[in-house]
Symmetry: none
Subunit: 149 residues, 2 copies
DNA sequence: TGACTTTGACTTTCCCTGACTTTCATTTTA
DNA sequence: TAAAATGAAAGTCAGGGAAAGTCAAAGTCA
């Protein structure tokens, strides 16, 4: 399959370059004889943050796509919480999680403060009350993922 | 890329002169072999207030462009940003702010990562796209406030 | 059948240029 | 000497080109 081939190629380039690389979408597509958006598809479907990759890009002349492989020595703590959080997360629960993470030196106090505020009802005030717990859960998961490196 | 080169050159001059400088657009363009409006483009796209620069200029004979890199202290910085953020905050703007806060040692890299993720479109995925910038602005302001203490 | 792939048309972003406009200081003119 | 002309800057804007992003439709495979 084309996608697999592209993914393998990118993996190999990452290996050669110690985990990060910059590529040009059109160029790579050209050399593989595929359509440029195929490259986009592979990157968005395979090189996701969940699987430990960071993507950034720039459009326009001389643009590029940058892929970085995060060294995921999986912190089981974070994983544990990640999977423990369901579709919704109430303010109270969130605070409990943070205390736990703080107690276990997974985050600093300042970081806890930041996260508390980011996910506070106050910050999410423009969202309908029923929706807040959902957004809060998403924010939390996103942060936990970002801390797993 | 020409723009990057020009931006680097200006940054370097700023470093050498302790954070502020006066340049002549035509002269600089000449020495770089580019069109004068290219300099304007770089200045308006890269040396924005969001990134902590002040621009003033004068036309006519002996005119010039003055660039000042604002050096503020922690709380001033936070205050400045707090007031700069309006009702909405786009992803792109948010990142620019964070880079600035990071560069000025107001936040750590990990904190920047946390905030980036907390306010990412991905984390706010359950909100309608038009609403995200509003929530993002709220989250940011909340976090900035929490850091001023 | 349903999830994943592939494609291509269209959109957005960014860079770069050049023509034209505005502003300011200096010089010339009435 | 006041007003007008001149010239030297910077500002603006539209347009073209290059690259990546998006999305829906069609195709494939388990």
């Amino acid at each position: 399959m084309l996608s697999d081939q592209i993914a393998r190629m990118i993996e190999q380039m990452l290996d050669e370059r110690g985990g990060s690389l910059e590529l040009q979408r059109n160029e790579l597509a050209q050399s593989l004889g595929c359509v440029p958006s195929q490259i986009s598809y592979v990157i968005t479907s395979r090189f996701t943050p969940e699987r430990g990759y960071l993507i950034e890009s720039r459009r326009g002349g001389g643009g590029h796509i940058r892929i970085v492989r995060k060294k995921m020595h999986r912190d089981e703590y974070l994983m544990h919480f990640f999977y423990a959080i369901g579709k919704r997360l109430e303010d109270r629960e969130a605070r409990a999680y943070l205390v736990n993470l703080l107690d276990n030196d997974v985050i600093t106090e300042r970081e806890a403060v930041i996260i508390t505020n980011a996910a506070s009802d106050a910050a999410l005030g423009s969202i309908a009350p029923e929706g807040r717990a959902i957004v809060r859960a998403d924010i939390f998961k996103r942060i936990l993922l970002s801390l797993m490196q």
